[in-house]
Symmetry: C3
Subunit: 118 residues, 3 copies
């Protein structure tokens, strides 16, 4: 049994989206406008995830499992959740886990890693 | 090819269990009795995971991959492992990775994220 | 629908490789030569991943999703990436996310967690 792997938006380092069967793996997404606060960065990240999912025929109502990494979980957990809960469709919420972790650049406040169905 | 997604024990923020094909994604689980030490919290977490898995016809002998986040890995790695090894059935141990990470509340010592088969 | 689970190189605590359908889950891999710098440790880790993947008929050009944990992301992100980019085949790069995390032993600088296709 062999299922084809399709990769999208690849650099030398990573692919933004990988499709295997009907499972979609999205690379960890951070904000482009890293000067923003947690609300702005979370909204930026989730908007990018919408685009990545749409590029392979998936969408935010097909998330399976999500990891969220916050630079400062005590300060930013509530702010991230407010944007998250306004974005994720009621009745289609994924499994999720959140922890604190330093990210690749000091001004990044949040990184979100998504696995979805197509 | 489209495989149905089933979600269980959902809040506005996350689903405790998501089923996609015969893969089961469980949200990050922390202890309810967060006053306990690492042994008590780990036992509490693993008991909850038993319940989540049972709710979709899976069980602890069908784990595929596990991430374990510890608040203090130097202090608590051995204590977590002692409970883990008495819980996980010999011959049915999953892939696993453990690191240190601050969790959503300061009194939480351990969070476990499970992917399983049904 | 039930897909067989196969586990390889199991200890009492974890299996190095778990196969479920055509998805391969590899346990978090750290360097054996933990005295090395980030380049040496990353090369050691990726060499072990080659071996784990080969043991179930997979290979580095079939990675789906990767998490990389670094002890010191500011210091070691570039050094890890240099070895990573020379190892991962162009045109076959996976989704990837990297953060900073303390690992099970203080001399470990990098841990890599791989999900692959067979």
């Amino acid at each position: 049994m062999t299922t084809e792997i399709q990769r999208f938006q690849s650099t030398r380092r990573l692919s933004r989206v990988v499709l295997h069967g009907d499972t979609v793996y999205v690379a960890g997404v951070t904000a482009s406008r890293s000067s923003g606060d947690i609300g702005e960065q979370t909204a930026d990240v989730l908007g990018k995830i919408d685009d990545y999912l749409a590029s392979v025929g998936s969408a935010r109502d097909k998330l399976l499992s999500v990891q969220i990494w916050l630079k400062d979980i005590q300060r930013d957990f509530a702010g991230m959740n407010a944007v998250w809960e306004s974005w994720i469709p009621e009745g289609a919420v994924p499994a999720r886990a959140t922890c604190e972790a330093k990210l690749a650049s000091p001004d990044l406040l949040v990184e979100i890693i998504v696995t979805a169905a197509r």
